[in-house]
């Protein structure tokens, strides 16, 4: 009872704060958030990351002084267009299932001569810190805009990662006894005023998966899928999800597969 009351009060406060005099029905908050997103979309600063990423892709860097232009992102060396829609996938040259970020690390090591440690050193940007990874991810994802997600789970390694990802998604643990599914496994859940997608439902999964990476207005940064998963783990009070770890890739593959057929619209813009 108390809980219901608090929910109602929080909703009312939300309406008031946003000044939504006409907002009466239950859906109007999410509609207003949708309007806010549309208003922001026109000037999405992610474009600045895309431009920087494209330049970085072509720039000769590292001990070998090579660019990433020969990097095989899954569709063959140097093919960027549509690459995001087939990732994560199994790569025969490394014998591993890799997502975009881990594949970029592989290419930075093999083509540019960085050590794995150097390539993974700064996975995420922050205030006053611009990192190559965010920009490359933004650029490569933007080259798949308008294309449908289509990841494979045909290879045994891919199948294994998919199953592992699904298990992680439903695995409850940590001091809060949380699983990804606690927030993202049922309809109609929300955090504050934001609706949470039910990631076991393909319609919701498509909408969520295809809008990452995204520019986070509140952080002023483009955030990658690796960041998103890392932060979900933090919010669950799980041990830190290591950047490009097999667990992170498995989870990403599970989500990408659930979002099969969703049309990429990233980098998007989020609150």
């Amino acid at each position: 009872m108390t809980h219901t009351w608090i929910t109602a009060a929080a909703l009312a406060a939300g309406f008031f704060a946003a000044g939504l005099a006409t907002a009466q029905d239950k859906d109007s908050t999410s509609k207003q958030i949708e309007r806010y997103r549309e208003a922001l979309a026109e000037g999405n600063p992610a474009e600045l990351w895309e431009a920087r990423g494209e330049a970085l892709w072509k720039e000769k860097r590292g001990p070998k002084g090579a660019s990433l232009e020969r990097c095989d992102l899954g569709l063959g060396p140097g093919i960027v267009k549509g690459a995001y829609t087939v990732l994560p996938k199994y790569f025969a040259d490394t014998g591993k299932v890799e997502d975009l970020e881990s594949r970029l690390v592989t290419c930075m090591v093999s083509l540019q001569g960085f050590t794995p440690g150097e390539a993974k050193k700064d996975p995420f940007g922050g205030p006053g810190k611009k990192v190559p990874m965010d920009a490359l991810v933004a650029y490569i994802a933007s080259e798949s805009r308008g294309m449908a997600m289509h990841v494979s789970i045909a290879d045994p390694k891919e199948r294994e990662a998919y199953e592992l990802g699904r298990q992680i998604f439903f695995y409850r643990g940590g001091p809060h006894d949380f699983a990804c599914a606690s927030c993202h496994g049922a309809e109609g859940k929300r955090i504050r005023l934001q609706d949470l997608p039910n990631l076991t439902n393909p319609a919701d999964a498509r909408k969520a998966y295809t809008t990452w990476p995204a520019y986070r207005v509140s952080q002023g940064e483009v955030r990658s899928m690796q960041w998103r998963l890392n932060d979900c783990f933090r919010q669950q009070r799980f041990p830190e999800l290591e950047f490009t770890s097999p667990a992170s890739i498995a989870l990403s593959l599970y989500l990408a597969r659930t979002a099969e057929g969703g049309v990429m619209d990233a980098p998007a813009i989020k609150r």
């Binding site: 026109e42 000037g43 999405n44 600063p45 474009e47 600045l48 431009a51 920087r52 205030p127 006053g128 207005v217 002023g220």
Partner: protein, 104 residues
């Protein structure tokens, strides 16, 4: 040096619509870092837009403008093919100038 701006300029009727994205930290000087020290103010102070050497927009900005600002404005008196030059100067004296051709 600062990253380049993204500028789009298109004709809308007889007016030119300009949309600019600028890459800038826009620190207010109010924020503290993890050690509690104030992060010094660092923001764009002046923005100008010129077409054929003529100023069409001149603005004075302060720390209230968001990080990575987006600026959109319209003006008349130019045609497709003309070049719009946008310049900003920040409180460190850093300067950045980029241009775009007006599309039909």
């Amino acid at each position: 040096m600062a990253d380049p701006m993204k500028i789009r300029a298109t004709m809308v009727g007889d007016k030119v619509e300009v949309k600019v994205l600028m890459a800038h930290e826009m620190e207010t000087g109010q924020r503290k870092d993890s050690k509690g020290a104030i992060v010094p103010a660092w923001f764009i102070q002046n923005v100008t837009a010129t077409v054929n050497g003529k100023t069409v927009l001149s603005a004075e900005w302060g720390p209230a403008v968001a990080k990575n600002p987006f600026l959109s404005f319209r003006f008349s008196g130019a045609k497709a093919g003309d070049k719009v030059v946008i310049t900003w100067t920040d409180n460190h004296g850093d300067k950045r100038s980029d241009e775009a051709t007006i599309a039909a």
